[in-house]
């Protein structure tokens, strides 16, 4: 019964939520939104010039993702199917605005460093994808946990990429001098081209670690209809 409902993506209160442990593993490793699904590339490349910025962006996105998943799951039987995507976007935009003003009030420096990429969390595919793939089907608390796990998976990826970029590109880590005095840092890595390079290197490492397989179902453009892949590329060609 429940598998039938899941198969057709029908939101029913009968749908059984996955186990908590499976949700956590999926978010962090198996379906890591950044390294496995290659979703939300813009912030991954733009704000990872310093470890602190990467971590801050990841945690800000995690906060939005937890609460938007929770709220969307609570409303999943109320929102009419036809207007669900605009509804999700508005819910997400609301939480993004809250997070943006919280940062402005308490962490003005981080807010300045992240700039327009904070309001741009709204357009991050990860949020719409999780709303559509998880929160619209399952109960609020598993959805909250899914948001937390996916958010932390995203944070982990951003943190590792920004660590690579800051250490190699600036010789520092969280602003602490590491190798700066030992050799000249490769400034390229904290410049825009270095974003592509570091992201490429981290994905290659992930590929190698998971058995040399080509990155899984890579999807780049979220469908506003379904919130999922419209153009599965990556391994395909």
């Amino acid at each position: 019964m429940s598998s039938h409902a899941e198969m057709h993506g029908i939101a029913t209160p009968m749908a059984e939520s996955p186990k908590a442990w499976d949700i956590v593993i999926a978010g962090l490793i198996k379906e890591n939104p950044t390294l496995k699904m290659v979703l939300g590339c813009c912030p991954t490349l733009a704000v990872t010039t310093a470890a602190g910025n990467g971590l801050g962006m990841g945690l800000a996105t995690t906060a939005v993702l937890m609460f938007s998943n929770f709220a969307i799951s609570l409303l999943r039987n109320v929102i009419p199917d036809k207007v669900r995507i605009p509804s999700y976007i508005i819910i997400i935009a609301g939480f993004v605005t809250v997070v943006m003003y919280v940062l402005k009030a308490w962490l003005p420096e981080l807010d300045k460093a992240l700039g327009i990429y904070i309001p741009l969390i709204v357009a991050n595919c990860i949020l719409l994808a999780r709303a559509e793939m998880f929160a619209a089907k399952f109960k609020p608390f598993p959805s909250f946990l899914d948001g937390l796990a996916m958010g932390l998976g995203f944070t982990m990826a951003l943190f590792s990429i920004s660590t690579v970029r800051e250490i190699l590109g600036n010789g520092t880590w969280f602003g602490l001098t590491l190798t700066k005095n030992l050799w000249t840092p490769a400034v390229l890595l904290i410049l825009p081209p270095g974003g592509f390079l570091a992201f490429g290197l981290v994905i290659t490492a992930m590929n190698k670690a998971t058995g040399g397989k080509v990155v899984a179902p890579a999807c780049h453009t979220c469908s506003p209809e379904t919130g999922t892949c419209l153009d599965p590329v990556g391994g395909a060609k």
């Binding site: 290659v38 590339c41 813009c42 490349l45 733009a46 995507i85 605009p86 976007i89 508005i90 935009a93 609301g94 993004v96 605005t97 943006m100 003003y101 700039g115 327009i116 309001p119 741009l120 709204v122 357009a123 991050n124 595919c125 719409l128 390229l188 410049l191 825009p192 081209p193 270095g194 974003g195 592509f196 390079l197 992201f199 490429g200 994905i203 290659t204 590929n207 190698k208 040399g212 397989k213 080509v214 990155v215 890579a218 999807c219 780049h220 453009t221 979220c222 469908s223 506003p224 209809e225 419209l230 153009d231 590329v233 990556g234 391994g235 395909a236 060609k237």
Partner: protein, 198 residues
């Protein structure tokens, strides 16, 4: 007077295309950059569709921001207003174009729904607001940004069409090799840095 205006417009457009390229230096619109650049024709179609929507969105966003949000001290609704404009506009444009200009719909139709969650389209109005541009400059900058986006997509699709035929190790196939190619394209655009004295 007119000469300085023309100068300003040209500099703004060239800066948006070459120096502050939306994709290659601001990383906005990464999804279509990696997603629809398998073929040059699709890349061009996506570029034109995005340019069109970005310019109209930026104009509407500026008008709503200045006439409604700022006078009522509701700037905190900017993000929500802009994303609503985009969602409504894309739907509207799709319907109108399908009804009245079928050939254009045939060419751009499939790209329109993809645009709603494109961060380039949301990013440009936000940048305009951050830069405090007036209506004219907003439109000029948005056009330049869209043109830069189109240029980046077309150039990169050329690179990827060639790469398809190259012999690449399995670990690097797909996304990693695309990212390494993007590194080189981005590096070449980096040469434009400092083209205009800011």
């Amino acid at each position: 007077m007119i000469a300085t205006m023309i100068h300003q417009v040209v500099v703004t457009i060239l800066t948006a295309i070459l120096v502050e390229n939306l994709v290659l230096s601001k990383f906005l619109g990464m999804c279509p950059f990696l997603g629809v650049t398998q073929k040059t024709s699709t890349a061009a179609g996506m570029g034109v569709a995005v340019t069109f929507v970005v310019v109209v969105t930026a104009g509407l966003a500026w008008i709503l921001n200045v006439t409604l949000l700022v006078p009522n001290k509701m700037e905190y609704l900017q993000t929500m207003t802009y994303i609503l404009i985009i969602a409504a506009l894309v739907q509207f444009v799709e319907t109108v174009v399908r009804k009245f200009i079928p050939p254009l719909y045939k060419a751009l139709g499939i790209y329109l729904p993809l645009i709603t969650t494109n961060c380039a389209v949301l990013g440009v109005p936000l940048l305009n607001t951050a830069k405090n541009y007036d209506l004219g400059m907003s439109l000029v900058y948005s056009f330049g940004a869209g043109a830069g986006f189109t240029l980046a997509l077309i150039l990169f699709s050329g690179v990827r069409e060639r790469m398809d035929r190259a012999d690449i190790p399995a670990t690097l196939k797909g996304i990693p090799s695309a990212l390494f190619a993007a590194t080189l394209v981005s590096m070449s655009f980096f040469g434009f840095q400092g083209l205009f004295a800011q």
